[in-house]
Symmetry: C2
Subunit: 305 residues, 2 copies
Amino acid sequence: MKKDYDLVIVGAGPAGMSAGMYGARSGLETLVLEKGISGGLSNEAPEIENYPGFKNVRGMELVEKMKEQVSEYVEIKELENVERIELKENQAVVFTEKGVYVSKAVVMSMGARHRKSGAKGEDEFLGRGVSYCATCDGFFFKGKSVVVIGGGDSAVREALHLNNIGCDVTVIHRRDKLRAEPYLQNKLEQSSVAILWDSVVKAIAGDKKVEGVVTHNKKTGKDDELPVDGVFISVGEEPNNELATQIGVTVDKNGYIITDKSQRTNIERVYAAGDITGGVRQIVVACAEGAIAALAAYDDLLALT
Amino acid sequence: MKKDYDLVIVGAGPAGMSAGMYGARSGLETLVLEKGISGGLSNEAPEIENYPGFKNVRGMELVEKMKEQVSEYVEIKELENVERIELKENQAVVFTEKGVYVSKAVVMSMGARHRKSGAKGEDEFLGRGVSYCATCDGFFFKGKSVVVIGGGDSAVREALHLNNIGCDVTVIHRRDKLRAEPYLQNKLEQSSVAILWDSVVKAIAGDKKVEGVVTHNKKTGKDDELPVDGVFISVGEEPNNELATQIGVTVDKNGYIITDKSQRTNIERVYAAGDITGGVRQIVVACAEGAIAALAAYDDLLALT
C-alpha cells in the first residue's frame, strides 16, 4: 500500500476531484481522501442548469461523470475520514481512520455545511422545493411563490435575487428587525418582497413537493399557513475547517480559509479550494479553484530544491 | 432593437458565455458581443480531457454545448466587433461596427492570442500535433517525443511539465542561453530534457499529423531533421487588451488585466474574466471567472441606488 505522495487532497467534492485530476495530470503522485462519498453538497442538487456545458443535469449525475473522469488519473478513497494532519519538515502526515499518508503538499477541500432551519420537513423536501442556494436553484421558481428563511446579509441577498428573477418572495425572520447591512435592508424595503416578522417556519408541507409552510409567530403565539412552491433556507453556513485550523491555517471571521489568487494558504504547500474558501458557492468555481490549487502545488514542488 | 442593458459582455469565449448566463440568470438585462464566433481559442482544442464533467470532448463540441445552454438565457451577437467603449456618468457606451449599446456594467473577456513561432506548417498541424498548451494537451503525448519552442519561463515550464508526464522532450531555443528564471533553468538542467541551442524550427512536417520538424541552426547555418510527435509552441501570448487600456483599465507588465478576487478591475462596474486576466489558462477557470464577474456586477448594481 503506497503511503508517500506529492499531493494529498482532503475532500472529494468538485474542488477536490478537480484538484486530483489536475495534480495527477501534472505528474504528481496524488491521492484524494473523502470521508463520505464523492461530490459533497452537489449530490443534493436536483437540477443544475448553470454548470457550463450541461443545459440541465442532476447533481448526482454530474458528480458521477466527474468521478469517472477523475478516477482515470487518480485514486479517490471514499469513506476514509481524515482525523488529523501533522506538519513536519516539508511534509504533511495525514492520519485517517484507516491509515497514514505522507505528502509533500495538501489541498484542503472539505467544503461547508448548511446550518439547518429546524423546520419539520426540511430534509424530506430537500431538492423538491427546499433549497439552500438561490443562485443555483432560483430560476426554477420564476413566477412562483417562495419564502426565504433568515434575516442576515445572505438571506436578504437571496430574497432580492429571487425577486429580481420574478419570484413572489416573502422573508420569514424570527426577530423584529433584520441583521443585514443597511443598504441591503433599503433594497429590500424598496422591493416588492414581503417580510413576516417574529416568525419561524415550524413545518414544510406538501405531497411530492413543497406546497406550503406552517409559520409560528413568536410574539402572538399563533400558527398560520402560507401556500408556497419553494423554501430557501439561509440561516448560515459553516465551513468544515477543523483540520485546517488545527494546523494553523488562517481563516476569516466566518471560518473560511483565506487564500491568495493561486489558492495558497498562509502555510507553505497547503492550499484550499471550493466552498471552504467562501466566496461564490458554485460548482464551476470550486472546480476552477481545485485546478488552480493543484497547479500551484505543482509549481511550488518544482521550486522546492 | 434594444440598446439599454445592465451588463454588456465583450467576447464570447468560455468566460464571456458563462458571464452572460450568470448575469441573465440573476435578472440582469445582459448582452454578449463577439467579434468572431463563440468559443474563442477553445475551438482550437482537438480534444479536452480535463474540463470537469467531460472525459473527452472536442473543443468545438464543448463550445457548442455551452453556446446552446447560454443562449437559453442571453443573446450572443456574433460577428459584431466592439470598436470602442466610452465611459460616462455610471454608464458604458459600447460602439460596435453595427450599433451602439448603453450598459451599466461591462465584463471584458476578450481573451488572448498566441504568438506564433513562424514555422511552416504551424497553422496546418494545429490540433494534430501542434499545441500551445502543455497543461491542456500534454497528456496526449505521454511516452512520445515532443519539442518545445521557446526559451522563457513558460517554455521551460511547459518542457518540465511534459517531462514530468513522461514525454521525451527537446527544447528548441533561438539563442545560446535561456531567458527563464534561474530555478527553472536549474530544474531543466537536472531533468532529462534536451536543449537544441541557437536553433529555430523552419518547418513542421508530417502526413496527417506531426511526424517531425526541420530545424535550422543559426550559428552553423545547417538544417537538420528531428522526428517528433508533438510540437509545443511557447513563444509568448498577447492579451487582447486594447479596449481595456483605452478606457484606463489597469494591466500588468505583460498586458493582462489586473482584477481582485471578485474579478473587479480598477474601474467601477468594469470586470474582467478569462485569459485576458492571465493566470491559469484553463476553460474551467475562465468559466468560473465569468460567473464570479457577473455575480459581482449583480452585487454592485444592487448597491447602486
